[in-house]
């Protein structure tokens, strides 16, 4: 029986339009056999949470380069909990100062991928995480 495909929502929250990273990750995860939905630009946490519920995704990948992560991430995590999405794995990729990482993990972000991460590392992380 074919294995169920991992479903991933790649989202670009905030006002920033630099979508190179989001697009590369979307494509790499798709090439790794996952089902990827890309939200497009300028998504509010509300829009992302709603899309995640509608698409019934296993993973949400947020691309944030603008420094707005400390506002966006806690807000999204609260919305996801309110909508009953307790099991979804939320990942952040982008420019995140190391000092901010503990608080982001504290609010429920599963992992933060900094510049220079290989796409293979992200694919492996998702596989490992969802195997549990």
């Amino acid at each position: 029986m074919p294995e169920k495909k991992i479903r991933v929502l790649i989202a670009k929250p905030g006002l920033d339009g630099h979508d190179r990273g989001a697009k590369v990750i979307a494509r790499a995860l798709r090439d790794a056999g996952m089902e990827v939905i890309y939200t497009g630009l300028r998504q509010t946490p509300e829009m992302i949470a709603t899309a995640a519920v509608q698409e019934d995704v296993d993973v949400i990948g947020l691309s944030i380069l603008s420094g707005a992560h400390n506002t966006i991430c806690p807000e999204l995590m609260n919305l996801l909990r309110e909508k009953g999405m307790h099991d979804v794995t939320v990942l952040v990729g982008g420019i995140i100062p190391e000092a901010d990482i503990p608080a982001l993990k504290e609010c429920g972000i599963a992992e933060i991928f900094l510049p220079g991460t290989s796409t293979q590392d992200i694919v492996e992380f998702i596989h490992k995480r969802l195997a549990h």
């Binding site: 006002l15 920033d16 603008s66 966006i72 100062p97």
Partner: protein, 572 residues
């Protein structure tokens, strides 16, 4: 200028650049047979193929055989004369160094004003303003969508009151200022002109550059508000206004920088940028302006990436293509329309978060390429920019890098020192040819706006960017400290943006709205709306609105009411 006008107009045709097959001399063939071949048999080269960072194949040796039919008088020419391969001025950096223009902006207008004055005190020769994302997207600092973004990626400017603080004690009559703003460019420019007027600076004499390049926003950076048609109208309005009122101001900086940062190749950067330039020229002509009256105020902005020779060849090819296009496509007769002037910035996307001090070295080499390529102005990135906006310490090293290149290396002693190199000339020809291929494809689609609407450049860039990522993942391209030579390290001290910026900005806005005449603001916003519905040049209306202290958000909203907003078709 007069010399150039007298000069014969000859340019290499795109086909000509490559039409002639390689014809090695008997001596070269003998070398291949007797010297190269035995070496390769004993010890093969490190890789089966050598390519530039853009993936462009590079031969082991370039010789006269690569330049068959190439005529130095015709294809290379002399600096300050068509086809400008060697630079747009006859003395280049011997006559005048490039402008050292460090992009800066963070927090409130006060914060950035202090950084500006610090940089000027350190010998920087021009200002360059980074605006925060709410400003770039035409929202005030207190708009709900601005939450978390105020003052983060640049300075928060919501009204003329902020702009007055930003340039406090900076005489706009003497300093040239570049402003990186696109969708709301006309509004921000109106504010700048209002500050200049208040300072008593003569508009006819002030100089600077408005980025104002909306096409590359649709293509790469994605900070657009309105659909292409009204956005282009706003751009052409600024051209027309600038032509009449601020003859020394660059009304646009047609930018390849962001296209490259989005992952394009060097050829794509060049082709899309120059085709964007041609699109603006065509819209200007359709407005009824004379080519030679508005084109001299158009400037360019290119990336300075890692691949040293590819970058130098790119700048040289850029000048040749622009000259050819201006003469042959648009019949320009003014040498100031022919000569492509450009700003350059080292590649932000090449900076690594790992081992950040290595970025000083990367930046220095990239900056050197821009200088050897004949840049008119330059921004060098700071070592910490893969983490955050630069600290004062990091920004100072970046500026010093330029000063070292200018004063210690000797590269400014002669014009176009790489001219005549078999390799550089061949690469210049090939990059030029590659760019023309793209330009002709976009012509066939009906121009750049049409190409953008069918996502053509966006798709080409996404492809190139993914190809590059795969090459890095497979270590076909080595990035020191990232996929090779990795070492443990301590975190860097970075600039933290004060979280009170948003609160302070909201408070300022509340006060502004209480103190200004709301009736006046309402009247001015109604005029903007009415003008947007018609065909008049919007600049005078925007100017009156900013002077009444209507905010960026209010003015952009007035235009949103008329123009609507744009959503792209997201491609991955």
């Amino acid at each position: 200028m007069s010399d150039a006008v007298k000069g014969t107009v000859t340019t290499i045709s795109p086909a000509e650049a490559s039409a002639v097959p390689r014809a090695p001399s008997p001596k070269e063939r003998a070398w291949e047979e007797n010297t190269l071949k035995p070496t390769l048999e004993k010890s093969p080269e490190r890789q089966s193929e050598f390519t530039t960072i853009s993936g462009y194949p590079i031969r082991g040796l370039y010789t006269p055989a690569d330049l068959t039919g190439w005529d130095p008088d015709r294809n290379l020419g002399f600096p300050g004369e068509p086809p400008y391969t060697r630079g747009i001025h006859s003395t280049m950096h011997r006559g005048r160094l490039w402008t050292m223009r460090q992009f800066a902006g963070f927090g409130t207008a006060e914060d950035t004003n202090q950084r500006f004055r610090y940089l000027l005190a350190q010998g920087q020769t021009g200002l360059s303003t980074a605006f925060d994302l709410p400003t770039l997207m035409g929202y005030d600092s207190d708009h709900p969508l601005s939450e978390g973004e105020v003052g983060k990626c640049g300075v928060a400017i919501s009204s003329l009151a902020d702009m007055e603080v930003l340039f406090d004690k900076i005489p706009l009559a003497n300093v040239t200022t570049s402003m990186t703003i696109n969708s709301p460019a006309a509004v921000i420019w109106a504010m700048y002109l209002a500050v200049a007027e208040k300072q008593g600076a003569d508009w006819k004499k002030i100089s600077g550059t408005l980025q104002n390049d909306i096409l590359k926003e649709y293509i790469a950076q994605k900070e657009y508000i309105y659909p292409p048609e009204p956005s282009m109208r706003l751009v052409i309005d600024t051209f027309e206004f600038g032509m009449k009122n601020t003859p020394k101001f660059n009304t646009i900086s047609i930018s390849g920088y962001h296209i490259r940062e989005a992952g394009s190749t060097a050829i794509q950067e060049l082709a899309f940028t120059l085709r964007d330039g041609m699109e603006y020229v065509e819209w200007g002509i359709r407005r009824g302006m004379e080519v030679d009256q508005f084109v001299p105020q158009l400037s360019f902005f290119f990336n300075a990436h890692n691949d040293f020779f590819e970058e130098i060849a790119k700048y040289r090819a850029a000048r040749r293509i622009w000259h050819k296009a201006m003469v042959e496509r648009y019949g320009a007769k003014n040498a100031r329309s022919w000569a492509l002037r450009f700003h350059s910035q080292t590649a932000g996307c090449s900076l690594t978060a790992q081992q950040p001090y290595n970025n000083v070295v990367r930046t220095a080499i990239q900056a050197l390429a821009a200088v050897l390529g004949g840049t008119q102005s330059l921004h060098t990135n700071s070592l910490d920019e893969a983490w955050a906006l630069p600290t004062e310490f990091a920004a100072t090293i970046a500026l010093r890098t330029q000063q070292i290149i200018a004063h210690e290396t000797g590269v400014t002693n002669t014009v176009d020192p790489l001219g005549g190199s078999y390799f550089v000339e061949t690469l210049t020809n090939e990059i030029e040819r590659g760019a023309w291929d793209y330009i002709q494809k976009i012509d066939a689609m009906g121009g750049m706006v049409a190409a953008i609407e069918r996502s053509y450049p966006q798709r080409e860039i996404a492809e190139a960017s993914y190809r590059y990522q795969l090459a890095v993942d497979k270590k076909e391209k080595v990035i020191v400290g990232v996929n090779d030579y990795v070492a443990p390290e301590k975190p860097l001290d970075i600039l933290q943006i004060d979280e009170t910026v948003a609160t302070r900005q909201s408070e300022r806005l509340r006060k502004l709205r209480a103190e200004r005449s709301q009736a006046d603001v309402d009247r001015q916003l109604a005029s903007v709306r009415k003008a947007a519905e018609g065909k008049d040049n919007l600049m005078p209306f925007l100017f009156d609105a900013v002077k009444a202290y209507a905010t960026v958000g209010e003015i952009c909203d007035a235009m949103r009411d008329v123009f609507g907003t744009y959503e792209e078709v997201a491609i991955t």
